[in-house]
Symmetry: C2
Subunit: 455 residues, 2 copies
């Protein structure tokens, strides 16, 4: 049987509603659906179910499919599922996972549960997991699999294929094959493709590429993943401080890191912390918690605007019309700042811009802000002159020019400053930039008003 | 020689400043750097150079490395580079590219140049490119390579390996091997790993997995790429309307699609169109153009706030103190709306939420908005009562509760509505949501003020 083929637009992906099957309480129907659905579909549907409803369909899965589904789930859901299952089942499941998946799960597990589970493993499996756990969070060491199939330069192609037949089943991948010397130091690499296409008598040392990418166990996972994406690598050998091969990172794990990273950047662009779990499996309390800290920061920044407005209360009382344009002028400079901030944050993330590029970035962004402010002023002057008067229009339009320039400057400098001091530039979110430029935009507005209106 | 190993944090990536070498004018030094730098580094550095300076270092590259660097460049930079190079070189470069990379480049090329380049290709290469060009933009057909190595169910493993040795060099990948029947219909697939580890006499039909993922040529590239990421696929067979195998999409191309998509989503989250080219290679005019349209939309939405303020001018004149809190109350509801919008947009993008989930999403988001508004009101009431008075504090705090609830509702419904009508939910950017909730927040504020203050 071939799976249903993917066609057309996103919503055309075939979907089955597991919750409807569960609501019906018809276990036989559920069983049939589980048998024919693919593992990705099942994992998706489990993530959409309330916590207490997940164990039943999961228990109905065949043992090998259960593991596949389990490894596709979010670590937070894996943990909840483990808690809900009987202990013997838990241990079996844990034993059969890949060491790197298991390590990622263990990170999020209470120490007691992790210890009990590790105790249930075979010595070999336990050592693999423990080795992984020795590396710091977000390091390549945590992402890699230690089950790496490596070759030696002195082997022939025939020897190498023979070795792969012997060890290939347990290795994480055999598509990228690192080559090591007598001290397990990395000296080259080749792809399984080269091996298969080569004459059996060729020496690996003559066939291998000596110019290979690798990363240290302590390298940042995101940097490793971006390198793999940029250089189109299926796998990346990981080495220790002495350049000895200790593991391998595969492209599927790298893609997952990038997806998490990008979910995080997008959440922060909106001024929230990433949920770390599928949306429909997140409670209102968890949602509120991911947002409240930033809202308190924003409202504290908003308090500055109240003070600025209070400082210019006399000006406002003299010309109440000025108040009408307050939301417009602060909104516009806030938006311009947000555009700069998201552009620069992304350029930093994909390594198109570095901290050392401060001067060209700031020149480019403030020029862009000036151009945009001037364009908006040109569009707005006529309507405001007609509807209110030319003097107010002058005040608003001068503020647009100055405000947009200032906002682009602030919006481009802050992400670079964050990166410089080692903070994720994405925390310079749109709402934070908006809050910061609001107060300065207001000061500019009222100062221009005082001058133009002679107050 | 092994490449320098990647270590530590992003800024620790070894970098060489190509522009400094160029400024020095020392071609020999430049030549040496180009010989030892890796292709990713060279491509990065080229992207950071001004347009006219790129041809020199590119021409200094060895022919095979030049092609590698070229394929790593953005299509927009590839085009500029092509224009800057002599025609014979252009044609040679073009001939040696993979058909799928060539098609992506051709999309962005003036028809005349594209035709001239196609004319210079060998008949086989030309046909491959033309076939690709027949598919609509952003379809799997454009992303796939038609150079797919496929097997037949009746072959033995030994036959299959023999066939791969014959055709494997020109295939896009041999790690994922689709299996077809007499009519070229897809009936299964297997990995090169299974082939290498199997007994040579085994039949492909017995070894292959019949439960394989595939996608139609007209499927959306982003959907295809997300499926590959979720199901950890190295390659995905592409079939036509009659289920006949026509090509294959590899994971490196899928990752590139996702990166572009995420750059687009992040740009839109900040209210700008994606640049489609590296930041430092983008002029101020191009930057301003990517942002001006959205700014005009925002300022038009901002005009509504001016009208709302004008409608309540009498209320404002009576109690000028109310004006002081305008930036704070609209800023806070704008931020809450932005948090909801980015959360839901991302959940839609990674398929955690579907359009059909409207009711649970809206219930969850408005509850979250209510909780957040109440928390912010509780924090703010004391300080405002002390600094101004309890009646103004009551007005501001009631507005925070109502405004946050309303904003979360709007921020969650709009991305779902966009997806429903077939528009990218990411266009419901933070600035757009902010602009939309500003006006309604103001109405709520002044209505509550009139009631509480008895105006």
């Amino acid at each position: 049987m071939t799976r249903p083929t993917l066609t057309g637009t996103p919503d055309a992906v075939p979907t089955v509603e597991l919750d409807e099957l569960l609501d019906g309480g018809d276990l036989e129907l559920l069983d049939r659906w589980l048998a024919q659905a693919d593992v990705v579909e099942i994992a998706d549907e489990l993530a959409r179910l309330p916590r207490e409803a997940r164990a039943v369909p999961f228990r109905l899965l065949a043992r090998d499919r259960a593991l596949e589904v389990f490894e596709l789930l979010d670590p937070s859901l894996q943990q909840e599922l483990l808690e809900g299952l009987r202990e013997t089942n838990v241990r079996q499941l844990f034993e059969e996972m890949d060491p790197d998946d298991r390590a990622r799960l263990t990170e999020e597990m209470p120490a007691k549960v992790a210890r009990r589970l590790l105790a249930g493993l075979s010595p070999n499996e336990r050592q693999l997991t423990a080795t992984l756990l020795g590396y710091t969070e977000d390091s390549a060491g945590r992402l890699m699999s230690p089950e790496v199939a490596s070759l030696r330069a002195g082997m022939t192609v025939a020897d190498a294929l023979e070795r792969l037949r012997r060890i290939g089943r347990s290795a994480e991948t055999i598509y990228a094959l690192p080559v090591t010397d007598d001290h397990r130091r990395l000296v080259g690499a080749l792809g399984l493709r080269d091996l298969v296409l080569a004459d059996p008598a060729t020496l690996i040392g003559d066939l291998m590429d000596t110019d290979v990418f690798s990363a240290r166990v302590d390298a940042d996972q995101e940097v490793v993943a971006r390198l793999m994406r940029e250089a189109d690598l299926l796998a990346l050998p990981i080495v220790d401080g002495e350049d000895r091969l200790v593991g391998i990172v595969t492209v599927d794990d790298a893609m997952e890191v990038l997806e998490e990273e990008e979910t995080e950047d997008l959440a922060r662009a909106g001024g929230a912390e990433p949920l770390g779990r599928p949306y429909l499996a997140t409670s209102v309390v968890q949602l509120a918690r991911s947002r409240i800290v930033w809202l308190i920061v924003f409202i504290a920044a908003g308090a500055i605007t109240v003070n600025v407005m209070a400082a210019f209360e006399a000006t406002l009382e003299a010309v109440v019309t000025l108040a009408l344009f307050v939301p417009l002028v602060i909104g516009t400079s806030g938006n311009t700042g947000a555009q700069s901030a998201t552009t620069i944050t992304r350029a930093l993330a994909v390594n198109e811009v570095r901290v050392a590029d401060l001067v060209p970035v700031v020149v480019r962004e403030s020029s862009t802000g000036l151009v945009l402010g001037a364009a908006l002023a040109a569009i707005s002057f006529g309507p405001i002159s007609l509807l209110v008067d030319a003097r107010i229009a002058t005040v608003v339009c001068l503020t647009l020019v100055a405000g947009c320039t200032l906002a682009s400057l602030v919006g481009s400098v802050l992400p670079l400053a964050a990166r410089r001091i080692g903070v994720d530039p994405a925390v310079m979110s749109v709402p934070l930039i908006t809050a910061l430029v609001d107060a300065s935009g207001l000061v500019v507005y009222f100062l221009i008003a005082r001058i133009v209106l002679g107050l």
